[in-house]
């Protein structure tokens, strides 16, 4: 057994020692990336010098390292897919890829990773694209420091920035995505980490989960998207310390949760969104240490949401804190700070002596007749809100925060 291991190690070292470097430039013996790949052996390094290369349908079928120097341009001339990786252990670094073909039948991508393990895709710049980085049935990869700038206008004829499909253990960090359909899209992808990315100005969602479980996303910024993040039909997603900002419009959310169970939403900031979080059919979610400021609706609960916990969040100057469309409630609101709280604290323990009712009658009316939003902050509305507060009829009467904080919570 031992000798076999030694033998393999020997082969491995031999492999490395004979691994060579192939240079690609317009005046070199090898002038295209495709040619370089056919000439190369496993574990070679291909260095692409600065210049413009009009190539598409490049297939990387060996474990290679492809490095671009000073961002060489790979121009696909809108003819189709540009780079397809089918081997394990491939690294692609520092290329400038433009002009991916658009198709209504096939998802052409700037880079597609297919059935591969241990891939690294980093420092790429993608422009004029359909799909950006498309990872299918792959695992243990890294996608770092890429910049993806699309020009999507409509949903039906645009692609996603970074898409994962049936992949596992992929780390997506420090990427910048703008003007595509979904900034980052995960479908049937588990155990992925999405960290420190910026996703902005996208037509649909900044980040989109479908049927993906046990993923974590943290420290990302989602600004000015059709909707910030849509998390749908997924379990055990962890959402930490993200920023959701200025997602404005009639169907715009900071975060959209649909059929989500057992998630954790901690330390996020929701600012200036039409709806901070829109919740539908989601159970057993912990919301803690989030800050909702200046949103139209901080949280809109659409029904079939049970056993959710909202504790120690800050609700600051939202037009509506919570909206419910029914008068049944099974969720717990406790120890939050509500800037609209008007109670007092006589025993000075930092907790208001009167419970706070976050759902106002007016939010119920607006739900029914949306045009009435124009009466927001009218004195008449204050009067009817007050009477509802005294004796709840339309809003759930057990929906109250029994320990509203007097001071803004810091963490």
């Amino acid at each position: 057994m031992k000798s076999i291991t030694v033998f393999f190690i020997a082969i491995f070292i031999a492999n490395i020692s004979i691994a060579q470097t192939i240079e690609v430039c317009s005046t070199c013996p090898v002038s295209t990336l495709k040619e370089a790949i056919t000439q190369s052996k496993d574990f070679d390094t291909i260095i692409v010098e600065k210049g413009s290369y009009k190539e598409h349908a490049i297939v990387v079928d060996k474990p290679l390292t492809i490095i671009g120097k000073n961002y060489p341009v790979i121009d696909g001339e809108k003819k189709g897919e540009i780079i397809t990786i089918t081997a394990d252990n491939v690294t692609v670094d520092g290329l400038f890829i433009i002009n991916v073909g658009t198709s209504y039948t096939e998802d052409y991508a700037a880079i597609r990773v297919k059935n591969s393990k241990n891939f690294v895709i980093q420092n790429l710049v993608l422009e004029k694209l359909f799909f950006g980085i498309y990872i299918e049935k792959s695992r243990n990869g890294k996608v770092y420091h890429n910049k993806i700038i699309g020009d999507a206008v409509e949903e039906y004829n645009s692609g996603n920035g970074i898409q994962l499909w049936y992949s596992k253990n992929v780390e997506i960090e420090h990427n910048y995505v703008e003007h595509v359909r979904d900034g980052i899209y995960l479908e049937f992808s588990d155990d992925c980490l999405i960290k420190n990315n910026i996703s902005t100005l996208n037509v649909r969602y900044g980040l989109h989960f479908m049927f993906s479980n046990d993923d974590t996303y943290q420290d990302n910024t989602f600004e000015n998207n059709g909707a910030g993040v849509a998390v749908m039909f997924s379990k055990r997603i962890k959402m930490y310390n993200n920023l959701f900002k200025e997602n404005w419009g009639t169907a715009s959310y900071g975060m959209l949760l649909k059929e989500i169970n057992d998630a954790e939403i901690i330390g996020n900031i929701f600012e200036d969104n039409t709806i901070g979080i829109n919740i539908e059919g989601s159970n057993r979610i912990n919301y803690r240490h989030n800050s909702f400021s200046n949103n139209g609706w901080a949280i809109k609960v659409k029904g079939a949401c049970y056993a959710n916990n909202f504790t120690e969040n800050n609700f600051l100057y939202n037009s509506f804190d919570i909206a419910y469309n029914s008068n049944v409630n099974d969720n717990v609101f406790d120890k939050n700070y509500w800037s609209n709280y008007t109670g007092y604290d006589l025993d000075k323990n930092g907790i208001g002596d009167v419970p706070y009712r976050p759902v106002k009658l007016f939010s119920y009316i607006v739900n029914r007749t949306p045009e009435t939003i124009i009466l927001l902050r009218s004195m008449f509305i204050d009067i009817i809100d007050f009477s509802e507060k005294v004796s709840p009829v339309f809003t759930p009467d057990n929906l109250l925060d029994k320990n509203p904080q007097i001071k803004r919570i810091t963490w």
Binding site: W248, G249, T250, S252, D272, N273, T274, I275, N294, N295, G296, W297, Y317, S319, F320, S339, I365, R368, T369, P370, E371, T372, I373, I374, L375, L376, R377, S378, M379, F380, I381, D382, I383
Partner: protein, 260 residues
């Protein structure tokens, strides 16, 4: 006219009420800032105060001033002065002194608190502008009421009723209408209804600044155009100006024909 304006203005400046009014706003501003420590929240609270209190004080003060200075007015009428300039002078005297109390009373504490370095400066100036507009409108309406009613009690009654109607009852009726006709497209109606009430109009103007993210949640092309662009701001200001011009016009007309 300028002479009468100046006379009314200084007369009011000397009177106790202006000081009370000024002191009230000063106190309000100081207390709000002291309790809140947050300019933008203070601006929201102030908005609620301004759109309710400014019209009330404007109407009461206008009616009161007219009835109090009735004898002096009759004395002036005996002089060779145009009637329009007498009444306009008095009206502007009242409206300007009220506006000044408002601007100084609220402005001073906020400026000391560091308004110019904060982002709330535009919200705050919008607040003051709407406050001034509301003063102009409601003082003019008060003068109209006083001109049409010799009986002081009746005049005061109508003035308070007018305020109550525009500040509270109108919104109630408006809300009922919207809910009753909820099956129809209502966005035009709701904007139109807002235009007909100066208090609602100024409220909308402030909503444009404070709650724009909520307002954009409603699906309606007209709404979107109104709230999403500067169109809403321009139309609102235009309508407020119309709301000043119409009652002032009626003051001039009425005063020409009235027997004293």
């Amino acid at each position: 006219m300028l002479k009468i304006l100046r006379y009314s203005f200084f007369d009011l400046m000397r009177s106790r009420w202006s000081y009370v009014y000024f002191a009230f706003y000063l106190l309000l501003g100081v207390i709000l800032l002291f309790l809140n420590n947050d300019l933008s929240k203070a601006v929201i609270t102030l908005m609620n105060v301004i759109i309710v209190l400014v019209p009330l004080i404007g109407t009461i003060f206008g009616v009161m001033y007219y009835y109090n200075s009735q004898e002096f007015t009759e004395l002036l009428l005996a002089q060779p002065i145009k009637r329009a300039s007498i009444f306009l002078g008095q009206y502007l005297g009242v409206a300007l002194s009220l506006s000044m109390s408002l601007i100084l009373g609220l402005g001073i504490p906020f400026v000391f608190y560091g308004l110019f370095e904060s982002s709330a400066v535009w919200d705050f100036s919008l607040l003051l502008i709407t406050g001034v507009f509301l003063t102009l409108i409601f003082t003019a309406l008060a003068f109209n009421i006083a001109l049409s009613n010799e009986n002081k009690i009746k005049g005061f009654g109508y003035a308070i009723l007018l305020w109550l109607f525009l500040a509270v009852i109108y919104d109630g009726l408006f809300l009922m209408t919207l809910i009753l006709f909820e099956d129809y497209p209502l966005d035009k109606l709701s904007l139109f209804g807002t235009m007909l009430n100066p208090i609602d109009l100024s409220r909308t103007l402030i909503l444009l600044k404070l709650d724009i993210s909520a307002l954009l949640g409603y699906t309606g092309a007209v709404f979107k155009q109104f709230f999403g662009t500067s169109f809403g701001l321009i139309v609102s200001f235009f309508m407020l100006t119309v709301w000043v011009i119409l009652p002032v016009g009626r003051i001039i007309n009425k005063s020409k024909k009235k027997d004293f």
